[in-house]
C-alpha cells in the first residue's frame, strides 16, 4: 500500500496546472504497473470464486489463503532486495528448513523456552546471512554459487539435525506464531473477532496521521500538495482498502498473528527501502554498480547487510512455517526459493536489477498462492494443476508486460 502512497505523493507537483481528473489519471497510469497485477489478482479471485461456488472468497478460505502465502511472503520481501541488488538467493528454502529444525530441536529435544529458541533461531539466520554476505561481498563470489552451495549444504544439515525424522509438537506460544489468531478482547461470543476490527481502525488512523504529517511537511517546504478534496478521497479509499480485509478476517477467527507479522515486515521494509540510505543504496547498486561506487557508496557493506537481512527474514519465515506445520520435517523448505523469486518477478522486480518493490512481491506471492489454493479447492488433479499454474504464470506476466509497454 505505502508504495502507492509514495508514488501518489510524488505526483502532487503537477497539480497546479491540471484539474483533479487529470491528476488522478496521471497517478493511475503511473501506478499501472502495480495496478495490473492487482487487477490480475482480483480476476483470479473472481474466476476461482465462480468456479468454486463462492467457497474461494469465503472468509475461512481467505484466511487460509493468507496463511498459505505467508511464508513465501516473508522470503519474497527479502528476495526483492536481493534481486534489486542484482544478486539471487537460492538457499532460502534449505536454510529455512534447517533453521526450523534448529528451533524444533531446541524446544522438543532440549525443552527450551520457545522465546529463547526463537531468539537463537533468529541469530542463526543472521549468522547464515553473514556467511553468505561475507563470500559474496568481500570475496566476490557470485551469489548464485554461494547460495547454491548453501542450498546443498543446508539440505545435509537439516538431515543431520533431524536425524531423518520429523521433530514435532511445540509449545503453544511457538505454534501460535504460525497458526494462531489474535484473541477476542471484549466480545467473547460475537460472530466477529473484535480485536481484528480494532486493529484495522488503528491502522487506518496511523495512515491518516502519517499522510497529514507529510502534507504539512511539504507545505512547509513550499512543495505542492494534493488539493483538499482529492486528499479526502484518497484517505477514504485507503481506509476502505485497509478495513475490508480486516473485517473479512474478523468474521472467521480474526487476523492471524503471522499475517500481522508479515504486515509489520512489509511496512518496515518498504520504509527502509524508500526512506533510508541503506534502502536507496540497494537500488543504486542494482541500477548502476559503478555509479554507486563512484558516488561513495560502500558497496561491499551494503551487499553484506542485504544478505544479513535476507538471513533474518529466512529465520522469521522458518519460524512461522515450522509453527504452522507444528513440525520440522526433513524436506521442509524445498523449492521455497523458486516460489519467492517467482513472486518477485511477478510483482515487477526487474531481472537486471535496480527496480522492484516489496509491495509488488507480496502481490506476486498472493497470485501464486491464490492459483494453488483455488485449484486445490477445485480438486483438480495435480498434473493439471502444474500445467495450469505454468500457463497462468506466463499469462499473468504477459498481460502485465503488455500493458506496461503501452504506458512506458
Amino acid at each position: 500500500m505505502s508504495e502507492n502512497i509514495e508514488n501518489l505523493s510524488l505526483q502532487k507537483e503537477m497539480s497546479d496546472r491540471k484539474g483533479y481528473k487529470e491528476i488522478m489519471l496521471t497517478s493511475i497510469s503511473q501506478n499501472l504497473r502495480q495496478y495490473t497485477m492487482i487487477i490480475a489478482l482480483f480476476s483470479i479471485w473472481v474466476i476461482f470464486s465462480l468456479l468454486t461456488n463462492g467457497i474461494f472468497l469465503s472468509s475461512r478460505n481467505l484466511s487460509n489463503l493468507f496463511l498459505q502465502m505467508v511464508t513465501i511472503g516473508f522470503l519474497a520481501c527479502g528476495m526483492v532486495l536481493v534481486i534489486v541488488a542484482t544478486h539471487i538467493d537460492l538457499s532460502v528454502g534449505s536454510v529455512a528448513g534447517t533453521l526450523g529444525a534448529v528451533a524444533a530441536a531446541l524446544m522438543s529435544r532440549h525443552g527450551m523456552n520457545p522465546w529463547l529458541a526463537i531468539l537463537i533461531t533468529l541469530c542463526c539466520g543472521i549468522l547464515v546471512g553473514s556467511w553468505h554476505g561475507y563470500w559474496i561481498s568481500y570475496k566476490g563470489i557470485p551469489a548464485f554459487i554461494v547460495t547454491l552451495a548453501s542450498m546443498t549444504a543446508f539440505k545435509g544439515l537439516t538431515l543431520a539435525i533431524t536425524k531423518g525424522a520429523t521433530i514435532g509438537e511445540f509449545p503453544v506460544a511457538f505454534k501460535s506464531i504460525g497458526q494462531g489468531y489474535v484473541p477476542t478482547l471484549f466480545f467473547e461470543n460475537a460472530a466477529y473477532n473484535d480485536t481484528s476490527i480494532i486493529l484495522g481502525i488503528i491502522f487506518v488512523g496511523a495512515f491518516i496521521l502519517i499522510d497529514l504529517k507529510k502534507r504539512n511537511n511539504r507545505t512547509k517546504y513550499g512543495l505542492e500538495v494534493l488539493p483538499m478534496p482529492l486528499q479526502v478521497i484518497r484517505m477514504v479509499a485507503l481506509s476502505v482498502t485497509i478495513m475490508v480485509p480486516c473485517v473479512i478476517m474478523s468474521s472467521y477467527r480474526g487476523i492471524p498473528y503471522a499475517i500481522l507479522l508479515l504486515i509489520a515486515v512489509v511496512v518496515v521494509l518498504t520504509f527502509v527501502s524508500q526512506h533510508t540510505r541503506f534502502g536507496r543504496y540497494i537500488y543504486a547498486i542494482g541500477g548502476n554498480k559503478e555509479a554507486a561506487k563512484l558516488s561513495g557508496v560502500n558497496i561491499k557493506r551494503i551487499n553484506f547487510y542485504i544478505f544479513v537481512l535476507m538471513g533474518l527474514l529466512t529465520a522469521v519465515a522458518s519460524i512461522v512455517f515450522t509453527g504452522r506445520l507444528n513440525a520440522a520435517t526433513t524436506s521442509a523448505g524445498t523449492l521455497f526459493e523458486l516460489d519467492a523469486i517467482a513472486a518477485c518477478y511477478i510483482g515487477g522486480t526487474s531481472s537486471t536489477g535496480g527496480v522492484g518493490t516489496i509491495f509488488g512481491a507480496i502481490i506476486g506471492a498472493l497470485v501464486m498462492a491464490s492459483i494453488d489454493n483455488g485449484m486445490s479447492l477445485m480438486n483438480i488433479p495435480i498434473m493439471y494443476q502444474y500445467m495450469i499454474k505454468g500457463a497462468v504464470l506466463i499469462f499473468a506476466v504477459w498481460v502485465d508486460f503488455s500493458t506496461k509497454k503501452k504506458v512506458a
Partner: protein, 507 residues
C-alpha cells in the same frame, strides 16, 4: 597551510600490459583553476581516479598530499571527506533513479536516519538552477539526453560543496551555450575560493579559464606552467609532440547525385504518445557532401537520426529515399544494409560492448562481409582490424584488449572504426569527436575528407560550432524538433547558427 592544496608525487600506476602513469608529479595551488591536458590515453583520467580513491591506495605507487597531510584513500568516500569532489569522464548516474536521488546519492540528507525527501527536492531545484537546468527533480535520468545527464553530474559535484572540484571532460557532451554557462559557474566558484582541476580537449575553454596548465604525455608529466606563458600552437606541440598547422584540413568539393533524401519525417514521443518529438523534417544529401547538423541541446538531432535508424520513436511517418528509391527500413539491420551507418553519441550505452575485445567490437557491424555461410574468416578479420587500429591510432597493447579497459578517447575511436568498416554510402556521425584529443580530431577530419572524396556522404551532428563551421559544406540548424534553417557552409558563422538554433528563424 602551504600554498598547495594538492600535491601528487611520483605517482606510478600499471594495468596489465599498460603503464598508464609513470612517475607523475602534479601540484595544484589553492584557489586556482588548473587545467590538465594531454592526448587520449595520456593518463589524465587515471590520475584523477587515483586522487579520488577509485583506485585505492596500495594499487599504485607514490604519495598524495592534501593541504600538506599525506592521504591514503581507500574509498571514494574518504576523498570526499578530505574535500575532493569529482565528475568522471564516463557518466556515473543510476538511470533508473530520478535526478534528486542521483544528485544526493551517497550524501542523502537525513533526519535521524530517515531521508528527508522534501528538503532534498528543494535543494535539488536550487542546484539545477545553478547549472541552468529547469527540469523537475523527480524526472528519471533514463529519459534525459547525454547532455542533460552531463549537467546533472556537474550539479551533483557542485552540491557536495567541495574545496577541490575535479571535472573530467565535463563539456564533451554540452553545446557551446551550456559550456559557456559552466565556465561562468566555475569562475564564480573560484571567487568563492574553490580550487578546480579541469580536464578538456577543447583548447578555447582551457585558455578561457585556466590559471595553470599541466601537460601529460604517455603517462609522464611534460611540464606545468602558467596559462599565459602558452598559446594554442605551443600547447598542441607540447601535447601531441608535433606541430599542427591547421585545425581543419582543406579539401576539394565535388558534389554528385543526391544519395539520401528524408521527406516529412515526423516522430511521436514513445512516452507521451500525443507529443511530437520530430516535426515534419525534410532534407537531402548529395554524394561527396558533408552536411552539418547544429542545434541546442535537446533540439532533437539525436532523436531524428535514432528514429531514422529504427531505434527510437513511436508512430513514425515520413519516407526515406536512397538513390532516389523509396525504402522500407524498420530495424538498424535494414538501415545498415541500405548503406547508412550511424555512430551514436552515447558510446558506452549504444556503441561498445565493453566485455568484448577491440577486434570483436570493430567487426561487429560488418560480420556479414567477413563471413561465408555464417562462418567468420578469422584471418581476414585480424588483418582488417589491424588496419583500423593503425589508421585511427588506437592506443592499445593488443587488439584483444577489452574495450572496457581503454581510455575514453580510444573507445570513441573503436566505435568510429566499427562504422567505417561497414563501408557506408551515408555515414552519420553523432558527436564524433566527443572526448577526442586535438591530434586525433585532426585525423578524424582527414578521414572524413577521404571518405567524402571517395563519394561517401557524411552527416555530422556536433555541438562544437568551430567543428561544424570548419568541416561542413552545408549546415542545417534544428530547433525544438524541426528544421529552423539551412546555411551554405561558406556563408555560415556562429551568429547565424545561434540565431536559428534559438528559434529566430521560425515562421
Amino acid at each position: 597551510m602551504g600554498q598547495h592544496i594538492l600535491e601528487m608525487k611520483h605517482i606510478t600506476k600499471e594495468f596489465p600490459g599498460v603503464r598508464a602513469l609513470d612517475n607523475v608529479n602534479f601540484q595544484v595551488k589553492r584557489g586556482e583553476i588548473h587545467c590538465l591536458v594531454g592526448e587520449n590515453g595520456a593518463g589524465k583520467s587515471t590520475l584523477m581516479k587515483i586522487l579520488s580513491g577509485v583506485y585505492p591506495s596500495g594499487t599504485y605507487d607514490g604519495e598524495i598530499r592534501i593541504d600538506g597531510t599525506s592521504q591514503a584513500f581507500q574509498h571514494v568516500k574518504d576523498s570526499e571527506k578530505a574535500g575532493v569532489a569529482i565528475i568522471y569522464q564516463e557518466l556515473a548516474l543510476v538511470k533508473q533513479m530520478n535526478i534528486c536521488e542521483n544528485i544526493y546519492l551517497g550524501n542523502e540528507i537525513t533526519k535521524r536516519g530517515v531521508i528527508d525527501w522534501e528538503q532534498m527536492y528543494v535543494e535539488t531545484e536550487k542546484v539545477l538552477k545553478e547549472v541552468g537546468l529547469s527540469i523537475k527533480p523527480t524526472t528519471k535520468v533514463l529519459s534525459l539526453g547525454i547532455g542533460k545527464q552531463q549537467l546533472i553530474e556537474i550539479a551533483k559535484a557542485i552540491s557536495k560543496k567541495a574545496e577541490l572540484l575535479i571535472l573530467d571532460e565535463p563539456t564533451s557532451a554540452l553545446t557551446e551555450k551550456e559550456a559557456e554557462n559552466l565556465l561562468q559557474l566555475l569562475m564564480e566558484l573560484k571567487k568563492k575560493g574553490v580550487t578546480c582541476i579541469y580536464i578538456s580537449h577543447k583548447l578555447n575553454e582551457i585558455f578561457q579559464i585556466a590559471d595553470t596548465i599541466t601537460i601529460l604525455r604517455d603517462g609522464q608529466t611534460i611540464t606545468t606552467c602558467e596559462a599565459r606563458e602558452l598559446d594554442e600552437e605551443k600547447l598542441i606541440a607540447l601535447m601531441v609532440g608535433r606541430k599542427l598547422t591547421q585545425r581543419f584540413p582543406k579539401r576539394e568539393q565535388v558534389l554528385g547525385e543526391t544519395v539520401m533524401e528524408v521527406r516529412n519525417w515526423t516522430v511521436y514521443d514513445p512516452d507521451i504518445p500525443a507529443k511530437k518529438k520530430i516535426k515534419d523534417v525534410s532534407f537531402s544529401i548529395k554524394q561527396g557532401e558533408i552536411l552539418g547538423f547544429a542545434g541546442l541541446m535537446g533540439a532533437g538531432r539525436t532523436e531524428l537520426f535514432m528514429s531514422i535508424f529504427g531505434c527510437y520513436g513511436h508512430a513514425i511517418t515520413g519516407e526515406i529515399l536512397v538513390n532516389g528509391k523509396k525504402t522500407n527500413m524498420t530495424s538498424p539491420r535494414d538501415v545498415i544494409q541500405e548503406g547508412i551507418s550511424y555512430l551514436s553519441e552515447d558510446r558506452k550505452g549504444n556503441g561498445l560492448v565493453l566485455t568484448q575485445s577491440i577486434r570483436e567490437n570493430i567487426t561487429a557491424a560488418s560480420l556479414s562481409a567477413l563471413s561465408k555461410w555464417g562462418v567468420i574468416d578469422g584471418n581476414q578479420e585480424v588483418v582488417a582490424v589491424e588496419g583500423y587500429i593503425k589508421d585511427l591510432r588506437i592506443k592499445t597493447p593488443s587488439m584483444e584488449q577489452r574495450t572496457g579497459n581503454l581510455s575514453g578517447g580510444n573507445q570513441q575511436k573503436v566505435v568510429l572504426g566499427k562504422w567505417l568498416m561497414t563501408k557506408p554510402k551515408v555515414l552519420i556521425l553523432d558527436e564524433p569527436t566527443r572526448g577526442i584529443d586535438i591530434g586525433a580530431k585532426y585525423e578524424i577530419y582527414n578521414i572524413m575528407n577521404d571518405l567524402v572524396s571517395q563519394g561517401v556522404c557524411v552527416i555530422m551532428i556536433s555541438s562544437e560550432l568551430p567543428e561544424i563551421l570548419g568541416m561542413s559544406d552545408r549546415i542545417i540548424v534544428m530547433c525544438e524538433g524541426s528544421i529552423a534553417g539551412e546555411i551554405p557552409g561558406k556563408e555560415a558563422d556562429q551568429e547565424k547558427i545561434i540565431y536559428y538554433a534559438t528559434g529566430g528563424g521560425r515562421k
